[in-house]
Each structure stands twice: as structure tokens, then as C-alpha cells.
């Protein structure tokens, strides 16, 4: 996964060589992260072939499985997004970050990563159940991630422009709310998905 992100960043570096415009810098970063999220999270239910699933099914409550998966995926996405941010700034420069409120930007990156993980965990489970991998996951997941992507793009753009916390906090509040609702929905729906 890390290799994927690093190579994506490096391709961007080869293509643009130093970005000073915050809007473009921001957009490129989120595009990389979006595709990284799809790639990383599509695997979360794929490794479960029949035997292992039956084993888990007899042992634990499906709800704890989906919550555990969501938490694990959220952690993965946070680590992944922070690492890709590190490589991104290393390769593409920090010119765009000059006026930024760094704390807010990192917060928006983390919330974005958690949000992607929250939405895509259930989608990955559905896609794996349908017996169709990354292709179906992209079709099912993209329209649901898009709203979150728009909100997070706006929030991180504001953070890059160094806008005060009082303005951006509504976005962060909205993102947290969205994450909580998404995980709750997954928690409610997953048991139906699991029984065969």
C-alpha cells in the first residue's frame, strides 16, 4: 500500500515538478489518497474465504466484526494518509503550505481518512459478498465517498488558506457527525450481510 502511495506521489512529482498553487496541491493530494483508500480497503473482506468466515461466524457477534474492521481500517487510513502527506511534501515541496494552518490541515486529512474507511468498510463487505472485487467496489463506493470528499476538500482548502478555526469547525463537526452516522449504519446492517 505504501509502495502504491509513494509511486503515485513520485509520478505526480515527475509530472508537475513543484506545485505552488494551494488549490492544485490540495486536489492532487486528495486524488492520490482517494485511490489509495479504494485500493487498501478493498482487501479488508476479500481474504475471508468460506472456512475462515464460518470460523468467525461461529465465534463472534457480526457487529463486533464490523466495528473492529472499521476501527482497523480507520487506523490504516490515518497512518496511510499521514505517511502519504509526508512523502507528498517531501517530493512536491511545501510552498503551498506557507499560509496554512497546519494543525487544521492534518486534522482534515485524518478525518478524511477515517471517513473514507467508515464508508468503504461496509461497501467492501458488500462487494466481497457479491464475489466481485475492486471493480464493483469502485462503482458502489465512489458516489458514497464523493460527498465526503467534497466536504473534506473544502475543509482542507480552507485550512491551507489559513482560515480561522471558527470558520472551519463547522466542517470538522459535520465530518465527525458523518463518520459516526456511517459507522452506526454499518453496525446496524452488517449482521444481515453476514448470514448466508
Amino acid at each position: 500500500m505504501l509502495l502504491y502511495v509513494v509511486s503515485a506521489v513520485y509520478v505526480c512529482y515527475l509530472a508537475v515538478k513543484g506545485l505552488s498553487l494551494p488549490a492544485t496541491w490540495n486536489a492532487l493530494y486528495w486524488i492520490i489518497l482517494l485511490f489509495a483508500a479504494f485500493n487498501a480497503l478493498s482487501r479488508s473482506f476479500q481474504r475471508e474465504d468460506g472456512g475462515r468466515q464460518l470460523y468467525l461466524y461461529t465465534l463472534v457477534d457480526p457487529r463486533s466484526v464490523v466495528v473492529a474492521r472499521s476501527v482497523y481500517n480507520a487506523l490504516t487510513m490515518v497512518v496511510l494518509s499521514l505517511l502519504s502527506l509526508l512523502f507528498y511534501t517531501l517530493f512536491l515541496g511545501t510552498e503551498a503550505l506557507e499560509q496554512a494552518a497546519i494543525g487544521q490541515f492534518v486534522l482534515s486529512v485524518m478525518l478524511g481518512g477515517i471517513g473514507f474507511a467508515a464508508v468503504l468498510t461496509l461497501i467492501a463487505a458488500i462487494a466481497a459478498r457479491a464475489g466481485n472485487g475492486l471493480g464493483l467496489m469502485a462503482i458502489l463506493g465512489f458516489p458514497l465517498v464523493l460527498p465526503m470528499l467534497l466536504a473534506v476538500l473544502r475543509a482542507s482548502k480552507l485550512a491551507l488558506d489559513g482560515v480561522a478555526w471558527s470558520v472551519t469547525s463547522t466542517y470538522f463537526g459535520g465530518l465527525v457527525l458523518l463518520d459516526i452516522i456511517t459507522v452506526t449504519l454499518a453496525w446496524l446492517l452488517f449482521p444481515y450481510l453476514w448470514r448466508d
Binding site: V119, L122, I126, R129, L140, P147, T182, L185, Y192
Partner: protein
């Protein structure tokens, strides 16, 4: 008869609302004024009206910061064209001057030069009991930019109401279907989505035409347009998901789960996220644009709009009913 009275109601509502939406005239308004800039001295102003009845001896005057400038002469060319010759005094206070003809105002008609401390108030202000030439007729508001396209309100908006109603119905059947695992519920849910997508397409087409006429482009980067695009993608994805699972019971379950999950997020996206960044929307009621509620004399629109919504929703339910029944018959034939 007992069971299908509502179909007659749908036809009646749609006929009345559609004929009214297309036939009711727009109220008279001034649509064009030239020149756009006036300076002290004599100016000749060409006024174009829409649905107006200009007559000789009609009242016309300029308004600048509640001070009136009376014309030297008013020549009526025809019912919707007139030439006004006025002696503009120096020293008006506001930089924008309005034009009033026959009680119709064209706000901000002229950039005004030669500003000063104010002028003597002319003696030709609004008459106490002016007679509106169309005061008694039923008309739609005539708004700049919108003009005749305001009729589209009665077609474009009901499409989205109908779509949301059908998608809501679909989710209701999906929730019920997850509970009892019945394939009947699944068929109902997918039928509602099929018809809902039809209305989504109609909403996009009517919206694109309206956007071209008023905003200048078929598609703009607007919160509500993004919402419409996401909605269309979600339900197309729903159909793709159904297409990729062979087993009927498994398909019913997976589709129901996706339907519920997507609909809940969609509701959040359509009704909560726009509140976060409402400033960006070009749609009425957002970002300082006037909405339905503060549209002047909006009741004239409401009288047609609500029957139109009811009619289209009923038509949507009727289509859903037919779709569901043909799907059931097709299944029985396959068996």
C-alpha cells in the same frame, strides 16, 4: 372504481397544472432599457416592455434616492416600446437611478453621472391610486433573468419531489424485505428505483435546459447539481450490484443493504451538507438568492405548483405500480 380513483385524480391534476403552467401569462414588466448610463443634460431613453400595454399619456419618471425626475416627453411606439425624453439635472445623490413606467419599476436602470447633494423633487411621483393594467388577471411573476422560463418551476421541481418519494418507497420496501427476506419486497424496491431513475433523468434534463437559459451553461458546479449527480450514480450502482449477483435471495439481501446505506447517506448529503456551504449554490433559497417564500406574490406560483407536485407524485406511483406488476408477471412466466 374504488381502487383507481387516484389515477383520475393524477390525470386531472397534471392536466390542470400543466395547462396552467404553460398558458398563464407573465405579468407585465420592463425588460430592457437603453442607454445604461445617464449624464446631466437631455437623454433619450428607449424602453422595452414585456406583456405591457403602453398607451399615450401613460405615466413615466425616473427615481433617484426617492427624488423624481419628470420626462419632457413620452412617445409610445407600440404596446411594448416607448421613447422617453428627459432633462437629467446635475447633482443627484445615488449612483443608480430607477425607471418607472406605468407603475412598473426597472430597478437600477441607469448608472448616474454628475452626482451631488440632491435635486429638487419632481412633481410626478407615484400616483395615489394608479390603475394596474392587468391588476385583476392571474399571472406569473415576471422576474429578470427568469422571464418565461419561470414556468419550468412546475416541471423541474416536481421531478425531484417524485424521485425522492419513489426512492423513499424503495428504501421502505428494502427495510421490510431485510426483515422477512421476501422476494416480493425486493421486486417492489427495484421497481421503485427504476421509475425513480426515470424521474431523475427528467429532472436533470429540465434542470439542464433551465440552467442554460438562466445561468448560461447546461451544467454548473453547484451543491444541488452535485447532489443530483451523486443520486444518479448511487442508483445506477445499485442496478450494477443487482446485475452482478446471480442468486435471487442473495441479490435481494445485498441490494437492500446497499439501498438503505446509500439512501441514508444521500439524505444526509442532500439535506445536511448543503447547509454547511449554502453560499455556493445558485439555486433559489441559497446564498442570498431569493427563494420561493420571498418571491413577490408567490401565491400565484403556489396555486399551480402544489397541484403539479401532487400530480407528478401520483403519476410516479402509478408508473411504479405498472412496473411492479409487469415484473411480477414476467417472473411468473419464467417459472
Amino acid at each position: 372504481m374504488k381502487h383507481w380513483w387516484w389515477k383520475f385524480l393524477a390525470i386531472a391534476l397534471l392536466l390542470v397544472a400543466s395547462i396552467a403552467a404553460l398558458r398563464v401569462p407573465l405579468s407585465p414588466a420592463l425588460v430592457h432599457v437603453s442607454p445604461s448610463r445617464i449624464a446631466p443634460g437631455e437623454v433619450t431613453i428607449e424602453v422595452t416592455g414585456y406583456n405591457t400595454r403602453f398607451t399615450d399619456g401613460m405615466q413615466a419618471y425616473l427615481v433617484n434616492d426617492s427624488q423624481y425626475v419628470c420626462p419632457v416627453r413620452v412617445d409610445v411606439i407600440d404596446a411594448s416600446h416607448a421613447r422617453i425624453i428627459a432633462e437629467v439635472p446635475a447633482g443627484m445623490r445615488a449612483s443608480m437611478t430607477d425607471l418607472v413606467v406605468q407603475g412598473l419599476t426597472y430597478p437600477g436602470a441607469f448608472f448616474t453621472e454628475g452626482l451631488g447633494e440632491g435635486i429638487e423633487r419632481g412633481a410626478c411621483g407615484p400616483r395615489a391610486n394608479k390603475l394596474d393594467p392587468s391588476g385583476l388577471a392571474f399571472t406569473f411573476p415576471n422576474r429578470s433573468i427568469l422571464y418565461e422560463s419561470i414556468r419550468n418551476l412546475h416541471f423541474h421541481v416536481p421531478m425531484w419531489f417524485t424521485m425522492i418519494a419513489l426512492m423513499g418507497l424503495s428504501v421502505w420496501h428494502s427495510i421490510k424485505g431485510l426483515g422477512d427476506g421476501s422476494l416480493d419486497r425486493d421486486r417492489k424496491a427495484v421497481s421503485a428505483v427504476h421509475v425513480g431513475l426515470l424521474f431523475c433523468g427528467l429532472g436533470l434534463v429540465t434542470g439542464a435546459l433551465w440552467a442554460r437559459a438562466t445561468w448560461g451553461a447546461f451544467w454548473t458546479n453547484d451543491v444541488k447539481l452535485n447532489g443530483a449527480a451523486v443520486t444518479a450514480l448511487i442508483y445506477l450502482a445499485y442496478l450494477v450490484l443487482r446485475g452482478s449477483v446471480a442468486d435471487a435471495h442473495k441479490r435481494a439481501r445485498l441490494a437492500a443493504i446497499y439501498n438503505i446505506f446509500a439512501f441514508m447517506l444521500l439524505v444526509l448529503f442532500l439535506f445536511v451538507v448543503p447547509r454547511l456551504n449554502a453560499i455556493d449554490s445558485l439555486h433559489p433559497g441559497n446564498g442570498g438568492n431569493s427563494g420561493f417564500n420571498d418571491l413577490d406574490l408567490d401565491n400565484r406560483l403556489r396555486v399551480v405548483f402544489y397541484p403539479a407536485v401532487a400530480g407528478w407524485v401520483l403519476l410516479g406511483l402509478w408508473l411504479y405500480d405498472l412496473r411492479e406488476r409487469t415484473a411480477r408477471l414476467a417472473e411468473q412466466l419464467d417459472r
